[in-house]
């Protein structure tokens, strides 16, 4: 946005950023971080919003091409459908960085994402440990049509089956809707009042879940044996606050700020002609080659807990850690 000064000159490269949607807390945080990152890195921005519609994304890419952008950052929520567009961009030698998702086919300069399968596994390990390997757990799946949701579901289920066979998992499809999650939770509590753990795949179900627990008098401090363990996902400020208050126990902090920063960082690097190789990075993550010619910077997505203690051999981060983007003002 603030690309004035020497606009049109060769100074700041023009980069097109497509926002995947603007109706969830997480992606809004991302949207908020993009312009400042661009200022910092010295790139000029063209932004579009594809409203979770892959057809709109493709059209937006066309407008980027029309406007002669030098690089594109996007977060395709559908990883199969962008192959034709990637081909077009490749033909015009426009480098692409994808955020959050990895295209099924076609190559990009860099994939910046956190491992969604790791989210599910982390949540599973946390709940498995806290429940001592037995009991009942409910999982609020996102939309079935979301690749990230499916990754989280599958890894959570696999981890449970492997490591905690004594835990029963009720998976409920919720279409990312809080009210649906709340009523399914209530229904499940009616049939299985002894549910001891909740895994929600995103913060969409946060408030409704807490409300149901409160209404059914199931809200006890974590020290109480009657406590129901709740693991959320996203790392928005509200979750951190709830951890502090003992209402939920953990969340995965998706690095919204780093998504913005490093998406632009890599695209600028590509424009400047830099290249990267697999290996650790300077910002605490690792670049891996996921398939021939496709590099992925797997940013750390830490599990946030009240005490920051190690869970199942994995380090966690305390809720008030200043490094968490949810604690930035």
């Amino acid at each position: 946005s603030d690309g004035k000064g020497d606009a049109g000159g060769g100074g700041k490269p023009l980069v097109g950023v497509d926002y995947p949607r603007s109706d969830t807390d997480f992606w809004n945080a991302y949207i908020k971080y993009v312009p400042p990152s661009a200022r910092e890195l010295g790139v000029e921005l063209k932004t579009t919003n594809s409203q979770n519609d892959i057809a709109a994304l493709i059209s937006n890419i066309q407008t980027f091409i029309s406007q002669n952008v030098k690089g594109v950052v996007m977060a395709p929520q559908d990883t199969a459908a962008i192959a034709p567009s990637l081909q077009q961009l490749a033909d015009r030698k426009i480098p692409v960085v994808t955020i959050d998702t990895r295209p099924d086919t076609g190559n990009v300069f860099m994939v910046v994402r956190a491992d969604n399968r790791a989210y599910g596994t982390k949540a599973c390990q946390f709940l498995g440990t806290k429940l001592g390997g037995k009991g009942k757990v409910i999982m609020f799946q996102g939309g079935l049509d979301s690749i990230n949701g499916r990754d989280r579901t599958e890894s959570f289920n696999e981890c449970m089956k492997q490591n905690y066979p004594g835990i029963t998992v009720f998976g409920e499809a919720t279409e990312w809707k809080g009210d649906l999650a709340a009523s399914k939770f209530q229904t499940r509590l009616a049939s299985d009042p002894d549910i001891k753990g909740v895994y929600m795949q995103s913060s969409f179900a946060l408030a409704g879940t807490l409300q149901v627990l409160k209404q059914r008098n199931l809200q006890f401090p974590p020290s109480d044996p009657r406590h129901v363990f709740v693991v959320s996902n996203d790392g928005i400020p509200e979750e951190l606050k709830d951890i502090k208050e003992g209402l939920i126990d953990a969340t995965v902090s998706q690095p919204a700020d780093q998504f913005a920063t490093y998406g632009l960082y890599y695209v600028k690097a590509a424009i400047d002609g830099k290249t990267f190789a697999p290996g650790p990075t300077d910002h605490g993550s690792t670049i891996v080659q996921v398939r021939d010619g496709l590099l992925e910077d797997q940013l750390a997505a830490p599990l946030v807990t009240a005490d920051g203690a190690t869970v199942a051999g994995q380090p966690t981060v305390r809720y008030d850690d200043k490094a968490l983007w949810g604690n930035a003002s």
Binding site: R21, S22, D23, T24, D25, W27, N28, I31, K32, Q141, L144, F170, G171, E172, A173, K177, G178, D179, A182, S183, K184, Q186, T187, R188, L189, A190, S191, S203, F204, L206, A207, G208, L210, Q211, K214, Q215, P237, E238, S329
Partner: protein, 344 residues
């Protein structure tokens, strides 16, 4: 006086009158046409999982449907007058959303909201926003004679966009107690939202059945010119109906907000399909002039019972939507067939 002529007049064919006379009883029964379906679902539910008929689960069903039920009530009012209001689903999210925006403190909610008003203003502001949306709809539809479907389709998109705009797409948390009371408190062990929903329907039954205003809705929906000729102030009543419906939608949104203790910017997204399905299954005609509150209530109840049973049955996630849809389709078709006349 006229009897001399009557004697020579043709006596109507013998069997027609009796055939016709059976109609009204049927018409009253039509309100209850879904009861067998509800019983069937209840039996299936109980077989699937003995939890089904426990009071806990029944309260759960009623509570989860209460907000949508009030939305259905609102839409039924509009449908009876022969109009449609698609924008109710957006008002459902926007009205409490605007109130939250005005009252929540950005300091607590990381920059969201403007904290212009005290928390106690939450409820009145919600209802006021509902009234304003309804009045705007009414202005375009009644005053300027624009097609209701079109206007409210446009409003649906605009109002949803407005909520995304003011919320920046984020969820409003930290609602003041006044705003979450209706959706979260309980009276004598039963959630307030259930009481509210039942009272709203009871009032609606009386208003629609036994007041001049209520009957006027049916008259307008049946034949607006005739209603005007009979001295009914059709424009005023249509306007008031649209405003009332929007206020009810705002109230429903408040209940939902209280239940979830938050207002996501997508609140109500897609709900209008469910609302129409419930109303229509319940026997409300899309052409106006026909439909009862009892029917509408059974319609929502049936839909939510189906979802509940599917959840209890643990149907594979990818097939729930299909099964849910299939049951709805069958119910829609059956309700139209048993409801007597096919085309309406």
């Amino acid at each position: 006086m006229s009897d001399t002529l009557v004697s020579t007049g043709a006596p109507a064919p013998t069997d027609r009158p009796t055939a016709r006379r059976r109609m009204p009883a049927l018409a009253r029964l039509r309100d209850l046409v879904l009861v067998p379906a509800i019983v069937v679902i209840a039996v299936v539910g109980q077989l699937v999982n003995p939890v089904f008929l426990q009071s806990d689960n029944l309260i759960n069903i009623l509570q989860s449907m209460s907000a949508i039920a009030i939305l259905v009530l609102a839409e039924t009012l509009v449908l009876v007058t022969g109009k449609m209001d698609l924008s109710l689903e957006s008002t459902f999210g926007l009205a409490p959303g605007v109130a939250a925006w005005l009252v929540v403190d950005p300091a607590i909610t990381h920059g969201l909201g403007v904290d212009l008003l005290a928390g106690a203003w939450g409820v009145p502001v919600t209802l006021l926003v509902g009234a304003l949306v309804g009045a705007f709809n009414g202005l375009l539809i009644v005053r300027y004679g624009l097609n209701g479907f079109i206007v409210t389709l446009g409003m649906l998109i605009v109002l949803r966009g407005l909520l995304t705009g003011i919320s920046g797409g984020s969820t409003f948390f930290g609602l003041p107690p006044s705003m979450s009371y209706l959706g979260s408190a309980s009276w004598v062990g039963v959630p307030v939202s259930i009481w509210l929903c039942l009272v709203a329907f009871a009032v609606a039954v009386v208003v629609l059945g036994f007041t001049a205003g209520g009957r006027a809705l049916y008259a307008i929906g049946g034949n607006v010119d005739a209603a005007r000729a009979a001295g009914i102030r059709t424009d005023r009543i249509l306007f008031l109906t649209l405003v009332t419906a929007s206020v009810l939608a705002a109230l429903a949104g408040l209940i939902q907000a209280g239940r979830l203790a938050s207002i996501p910017s997508g609140q109500g997204d897609g709900a209008i399909f469910q609302v129409f399905a419930a109303a229509v299954i319940g026997g409300v005609s899309l052409n106006g002039g026909k439909g009862s509150m009892v029917g509408a209530f059974t319609g929502v109840l049936l839909l939510f019972m189906i979802v509940n049973v599917l959840t209890l049955a643990g149907v594979p996630a990818q097939w729930t939507n299909f099964l849910n849809g299939a049951v709805i389709l069958v119910a829609l078709v059956l309700s139209r067939i048993t409801g007597g006349k096919a085309q309406e």
